[in-house]
Symmetry: C2
Subunit: 636 residues, 2 copies
């Protein structure tokens, strides 16, 4: 078993500094000349000066008549003056040149036609309504500095100033080499043991967004010589090379050895999580970066190390991240060993930004899609407590965050349906839902960290859903309960039900997967178990937890468990069999003032929309009686 | 003289509403299928669901060994256990599948090789370090909602989830028709009366940035039938058409008549300045917009009316503008007749954002390039007083604004040189200079509205520059005077000096162009006039004002004036002759605390740099003795 167990772990900034210093001239921008009309988004490599003035000549600033100012003297409301065409004036449109002897313009609105010519009622001082040559742009004047990113308006002004070509930084060619015997192209059908190659395509897009020209190579298997040869080829054809992955210390992680053989490795391993196994090297005078394989690690390694190198090549400035202060919704523990990047969802509730941490695994790429930003825990920190203010680097604009409904509580696929419908609204609203179970959601609502909580908590004594929980959690407040759906809960089992599971009583003889504490589904299970006289101890897997209906369904579909409890739609989506065990009420809880939010108004509108009903019918397992009815709950 | 003098002027929002309502189905998005790898920046037309789970199977989350958890029971620090290869464990790398009978992974770091196999010192609970199938993405799960703009991370996750093609909104084809007999292509040499056609190229870039596919047509002269035929062709080939210009009420403004003949015009004229003569029409069931010819008007008309239509087609959301509150540095008067868009420069001085209005003309395109944003004066407002807080729609990020030096005072081309050098610094700093003359600059500095003031104010009694002005303006403060350059001031006259101007005494017989009140150059002129015993009344054009050396030079070059006073470099840049009248000191004034700013440190570093000296030598007319020396001025 050959491994390089001991990567060093250099702090992030230090690693970057070491590398950027070591690169020196290995990442220098080169200039090329492009047509101005093709220059949108390019970066100037030198200052640009106007060739012509604009206007090019003295010109009419208004539609009207060009006059000789001296001949208009004395004209007044009380003593109108008649000007004769061709002698005293000529008709001009905006932009027409004003040539001698004419030296002023009178607006069309201030003239009156008559038989002999035109009557004016005010004298025109010299140069009235005349745009002098160079009023806008003076020939020789600097229009743009170097390192300026060309916008549409710049294109207009450059052309007006007689500039048709400019010098910009050449887009660096970035070779991207995906490696790995187990990875397959996305267009092939994957088998067990295969991993779909997606990182290189993400890198292509990241390189493009940062002003580079990506060149992706085909997948190279884990073979020392094959990878080495591909690196040599890519170096020959590009300004910079990215190797993915093999950057770690596994048995088949050749990248660092190859780069050591071919050139110089400056850093192997960075104190950052996810993203530790980064390799920063220089080969044949060009930057080569080894990027780890897990998608989140890959993303962070690209952002922290490939972007600065790209910026050297492209002349782009570090577009400083948008950062906001947000209140942490739960405790975040981290290690002193590394800087940790935790993906978070962010929403504005009242006047506070609230951030909720998402899945932290390096493989949890979907959490990157769901995330609104990163909360960075510094290397020297052990983390933050719930309620602490933390700084969040946003992926979205604060305006977008402001228009987001923070939905925290129980999960149901119908939230995805509403979220999708909301995204289609012209106002650009979003529904951001975090799944921590009904009870957790109500607690968040109470702390002012959510706008709305989907909840299905059964009061076993009364058989009534949600009300008693709301009354005990919000003793001094009036709270709104928006009626949602009745949904069928049941046992999800493999297709064909091979273990012949018929109901709750069978849970003692199979491997179960449960929902987390505080989840309404778990409350229902406990209720059903008690009814059946079964103790949790008798259920194998009672302590195995999954966070959503879909996650439970996936575990059953994947064979880690034989059975789990959840809603019909999840079972249906995963092709599982479904054994109904009861109906329950899935409602939405919110504070009265929330009703005033345009986003919540939109939510309620969509809840009542035919599109929503149609989609739920298609999913199956719901009954929609009373949907959208609002009740006020108060324990006073 | 045929004109349509009377455009109506509909308020901006009302015009937009009328038009968007009238368009109805004439601007509906259409979907098309694209490969995920080509989808960067495209907008989803429907929700996207995962096809496969990720991971596809239970897989190792760490490099190490896969074990049968039951067989590791009892292992502890005090009672190590030896596992045999092939029986009790197999070696796995991260991502490898974990198949029965194996059900847990032990990290390589926690194992120790021995002769018989591997020694472990802790039991592995079932599913330790195993990523269960679907941990990241569950097949059937919604990955993206509709109307989502595809980012690099989305591409990665879509491919991982087995999605290789997605449905996105088709890019609308936008036909752009430049019209006008007087306009010429930028690649031709313009003659007097010609206007370089640049708007259509700006439109192309604007359409591209907003997700459309521009189709630009060649220039059509002002001919009713020719324009009409081009509009018909363009409608045939595009989803939407933009006609520029001929949208006003001039003699040759045919656009509105053509659109009335071919279809329906809903709005002609909007209460917005610049940008009033907009035409909003529908022809053959497609949107056609007539855009005014002045570049700033064109830009604003595009932004206010073409963008919303484009967004309908593309499914893009209105990316809400970045707005900040800023203190207005001088009074802004506007009319109740329209909403006015005033371009402003914005900088942060201390903890306040300060905004300085720029040129307001519809033709002042260069002011758009210089601007950091717009201050919008509502239609029902007559304007704002200096010192009032106004809201500014930023073109740049607030972070960029924060790294900007606000330089307010006297103008010299060397400011452009430093500005260019600063832009090349890796830190992304900017120098934003506003030219209001030395005295105006010192007043702004005193009000806390500038970081630095370039000044060349002569004390006629002592012959010393700047000091006495600083002492009297800042009686209770210590102020820093950074020595700048000595520069030659002189008279700029047409090449060859046709009027044989030899010095100040000749100013009584020619047409002069002066600088604005408070400009150091004007103070110097007044001093020289007094020395020569000439009264300002005797100088024709003494009251004609221009704001910069280059503007003065342009007026002389353009023939509106025979002579103006300014610096050698401006005369040189415009190809004028130069008659020196004296040297003066051009220094930089700032508060001591400003020295701490990294941007100011950079400014001072560049002031002393060889690049800067070389460039000034190339420009000519400067002496650099003492450049960068800092003196403390205090009247106490």
């Amino acid at each position: 078993m050959k491994r390089n167990l001991y990567l060093t772990t250099t702090p992030v900034e230090e690693a970057r500094e070491i590398y950027m210093d070591a690169l020196g001239d290995a990442a220098m921008p080169h200039a090329e000349t492009v047509k101005v009309i093709d220059a949108l988004g390019r970066i100037t490599s030198e200052a640009v000066y106007a060739v012509y003035s604009s206007p090019l000549y003295n010109s009419a600033a208004m539609d009207g008549i060009a006059v000789i100012s001296a001949r208009t003297e004395g004209a007044a409301e009380s003593s109108p003056l008649t000007l004769r065409s061709g002698e005293d004036y000529i008709i001009v449109d905006t932009g027409d040149p004003i040539r001698k002897p004419y030296d002023a313009v009178i607006m069309a609105e201030d003239t009156q036609e008559c038989e002999d010519g035109i009557i004016i009622r005010a004298a025109a001082p010299a140069w009235q309504h005349v745009r002098p040559v160079g009023e806008d742009i003076v020939a020789g004047e600097m229009i743009l500095t170097r390192c300026h990113c060309i916008r549409p308006i710049d294109i207009g002004v450059l052309l007006s100033g007689g500039v048709t070509e400019i010098s910009v930084f050449r887009k660096p060619k970035v070779g991207i080499i995906p490696t790995g015997t187990e990875i397959v192209e996305p267009y092939e059908d994957p088998e067990e043991g295969d991993i779909i190659e997606s990182n290189s395509r993400m890198f292509e897009a990241m390189v493009r967004e940062n002003g580079g020209a990506p060149v992706r190579y085909g997948i190279v298997p884990d073979d020392y010589e094959a990878i080495k040869n591909r690196v040599i080829t890519a170096l020959d054809e590009n300004d910079m090379v990215i190797v993915n992955a093999g950057s770690s210390a596994g048995t088949e992680d050749y990248t660092v050895h190859i780069l050591r053989e071919l050139g110089e490795v400056f850093v192997h391993g960075v104190a950052m999580k996810p993203g530790k196994p980064v390799i920063l090297a220089k080969v044949s005078g060009k930057p080569v970066i080894g990027i780890p394989g897990y998608p989140v690690s890959a993303y962070l390694a690209m952002e922290n190390f490939a972007y600065p190198v790209l910026r050297r090549f492209t002349g782009m400035k570090d577009s400083s991240e948008r950062t906001i202060e947000a209140v942490l919704s739960r405790r975040l523990v981290s290690s002193l060993k590394h800087r940790e990047y935790v993906r978070v969802r962010v929403g504005k509730v009242g006047d506070r930004y609230i951030c909720a941490p998402l899945a932290r695994g390096a493989g949890a790429a979907m959490s990157m899609v769901r995330a609104d930003g990163f909360c960075v825990i510094p290397q020297e920190s052990e983390g933050y407590e719930a309620g602490e203010k933390v700084s969040v680097n946003l992926f979205r604009s604060p305006e977008e965050i402001d228009r987001t409904i923070v939905c925290t509580g129980s999960h149901d696929i119908l939230l995805d349906v509403i979220s999708d419908l909301m995204s289609g609204e012209a106002e650009g609203m979003r529904l951001s839902s975090t799944h921590i179970g009904s009870l957790g959601g109500l607690m968040a609502l109470r702390r002012g960290e959510a706008h709305i909580t989907p909840s299905h908590l059964l009061d076993e004594e009364t058989g009534i859903y949600n009300e008693s929980y709301i009354k005990s959690l919000f003793p001094d407040e009036e709270i709104l309960l928006v009626k949602g759906v009745r949904r069928i809960q049941g046992l999800m089992v493999a297709a064909g039900n091979p273990l012949d599971i018929k109901g709750i009583e069978d849970l003692t003889r199979i491997r179960f997967v449960n929902r987390q504490r505080g989840a309404g589904t778990r409350v229902l299970l406990d209720f059903k178990l008690r009814q059946a006289g079964i103790s949790p101890d008798e259920v194998c897997g009672y302590d195995a937890e999954a966070a959503t209906h879909m996650a439970v369904a996936a575990q059953v579909a994947g064979g880690e468990a034989d059975c789990g409890m959840g809603v019909y739609s999840a079972a249906h989506a995963m092709g599982l069999d479904f054994i109904p065990v009861g109906e329950e009420e899935y409602d939405f809880v919110m504070r009265p003032e929330t009703l005033e939010m345009p986003e919540i108004k939109c939510f309620l509108k969509l809840l009542a929309s035919p599109d929503f009903r149609d989609k739920l019918e298609e999913l199956g397992g719901y009954s929609l009686e009373g949907l959208g009815e609002i009740r006020r709950i108060s324990s006073r």
